[in-house]
């Protein structure tokens, strides 16, 4: 489904300074695989996602997506950005329909789907509200619906549950797992919750601090479907511990 080789990205800052954000990144993702990406803040996770989304030029490397060289945005990708990025002049529902409008999908069907998604994320009462009238977490949920409206094959999510309370987050995790298992989508989830990464994924990719490289690639061999009890599974705890160790050894301060 996705194959990245030799990817690197250097940002040129105003003063002329350069930031090497990603370096020597190789990664293969199989169709219908669910991978999580974890790594310290500023290690290049969002950078990677924007490159895959075709909106940020890479410095070196090749990317193949669904058998084709990546040269720009693709209809097969659904994206959740780190910031909600909603359009202020559109209501919740209209914002969710934006990808459907762009891709000229059947709007009647899309509107129905949008209503379902809105219900799913618990915003039924706010379909006709404007983004300004929503809380931070509510906006983020709208962003999640928007990424799903056109039923993409490949879901790229940048900390989609960051602004959600523990319970809403668990609900959303369950929903995501359900959608994934039913639809066979390929998912790449960037998250800063290590348990969440392990809980949802087939593989967890661990990145080093800037410049971001892949330092570990851990197949999560836990039975599916997973429920909350999984958190007390000793194997689960081991995966979490393994990942945590990377963070500590990579120079993040020990607590």
């Amino acid at each position: 489904m996705l194959s990245i080789s030799g990817l690197s990205k250097t940002y040129e800052a105003r003063g002329g300074g350069k930031t090497l954000a990603l370096t020597e990144l190789d990664l293969m993702v199989r169709r219908s695989e669910f991978i999580s990406v974890v790594g310290p803040s500023g290690c290049g996770k969002s950078t990677l996602l924007k490159i895959l989304a075709g909106i940020l030029p890479r410095s070196t490397g090749e990317i193949e997506l669904a058998g084709e060289l990546l040269t720009g945005p693709s209809r097969h990708i659904g994206l959740v950005f780190q910031a909600p990025l909603l359009l202020p002049w559109l209501t919740v529902k209209e914002n969710i329909l934006v990808p459907a409008k762009i891709q000229r999908l059947d709007l009647v069907a899309a509107a129905k789907r949008a209503d379902e998604l809105i219900e799913m994320v618990g915003l039924g009462a706010f379909a006709r509200s404007y983004p300004k009238e929503l809380s931070g977490g509510m906006q983020q949920r709208v962003g999640i619906c928007r990424a799903l409206i056109h039923d993409p094959d490949f879901l790229l999510m940048d900390e989609p549950f960051g602004a959600l309370d523990a319970m809403t987050r668990e609900t959303m995790n369950a929903e995501l797992q359900r959608i994934w298992s039913l639809s066979g989508k390929t998912v790449m989830l960037i998250t800063h919750s290590i348990p969440e990464a392990v809980y949802l994924a087939d593989r967890v990719i661990v990145m080093t601090p800037r410049p971001g490289r892949i330092v570990d690639d851990i197949a999560i061999d836990l039975p599916r479907p997973r429920d909350l009890a999984m958190h007390s599974n000793p194997q689960f705890g081991e995966y979490v511990m393994r990942i945590r160790r990377h963070f500590n050894s990579e120079g993040s301060l020990d607590a």
Binding site: P73, R75, L85, W89, V98, P99, K101, I102, Q103, K132
Partner: protein
């Protein structure tokens, strides 16, 4: 409905009070400094002339002529400015190529090329509409260009990520962000289209408020000229109100600086 209307009443009262003060100071200074009436007529004499004008049926024909020139120039110039502004705003190459030409053309005083315009567009309202449109054009162009560029990069990237075409990005984001700028341009356009129509009439006209001003000047009726100027101002204010009302309705999502609330 009751709340806004009392608020509007208060605002209107303030307006009227200020108007009274301005006119009072004007009348007083004209009297105290003994300003000759042909240099600056007193508000009272202007008001008398205004009443006289408003009582004559012919006056409304002049208003109509000038109003149609103003509106024609406003619409034509604004439309052209927004269109070319869009082209320039969306393409850096076009911007680099065309902007200097636009500046070059626009800095040519329309008064200086008015005779040529009259030769091409005739002696009627056509040439006045064109002169007004030419003056109105640039503020709309400049504001449209800047407005289109004011769309935040992230928003555009979001749309692009969902495979939006250039045109979709324009319609779905850039145009929306340009709207407040365009409305500023329209406010400027009102002022300039009034001036443009009158400048056009000064070059040569058979009717209209500019013609009336010339006529009054010829008759040494400066108070009459000022009365006509006031009518022009009135037209300008009404147009401004209309544009403001449309602005508020269309650009509903801009949350401007909050009143400094005290809880």
């Amino acid at each position: 409905m009751t709340r806004p209307s009392t608020k509007h009443l208060a605002a209107a009262a303030q307006q009227i009070a200020l108007l009274a003060v301005v006119l009072g100071v004007w009348e007083a200074s004209v009297r105290i400094f003994d300003v000759p009436a042909i240099v600056l007529p007193s508000p009272i004499s202007i008001f008398e002339q205004l009443v006289k004008l408003l009582g004559s049926a012919l006056f409304y024909r002049h208003i109509w002529v000038t109003l149609s020139e103003i509106l024609g120039g406003f619409v034509l110039g604004s439309a052209a400015g927004i269109l070319l502004g869009t082209a320039i705003g969306l393409s850096r190459v076009l911007a680099r190529l065309l902007f200097p030409y636009v500046i070059a053309f626009e800095t040519m005083p329309k008064v200086a090329i008015a005779p040529i315009i009259v030769i091409w567009a005739g002696y009627g309202t056509g040439s006045k509409v064109i002169i007004a449109a030419l003056i109105v054009f640039f503020p709309l162009l400049a504001n449209t260009v800047m407005g289109l560029r004011s769309a935040p990069r992230e928003e555009i990237e979001m749309l692009r990520a969902f495979t939006a075409t250039r045109w979709q990005i324009f319609r779905m984001a850039q145009l929306k962000h340009a709207l407040p700028h365009i409305f500023t341009g329209l406010d400027i356009a009102i002022v300039l289209s009034v001036i443009g129509a009158i400048v056009g009439e000064f070059v040569g006209a058979k009717a209209g408020l500019g013609y009336l001003i010339l006529q009054n000047n010829f008759n040494f009726n400066i108070a009459g000229s000022f009365a006509v100027l006031f009518v022009l101002s009135g037209i300008g204010i009404v147009l401004h109100w209309i544009v403001s009302a449309v602005h508020e309705r269309v650009v509903f999502w801009v949350d401007s600086a909050p009143a400094l609330s005290r809880n």
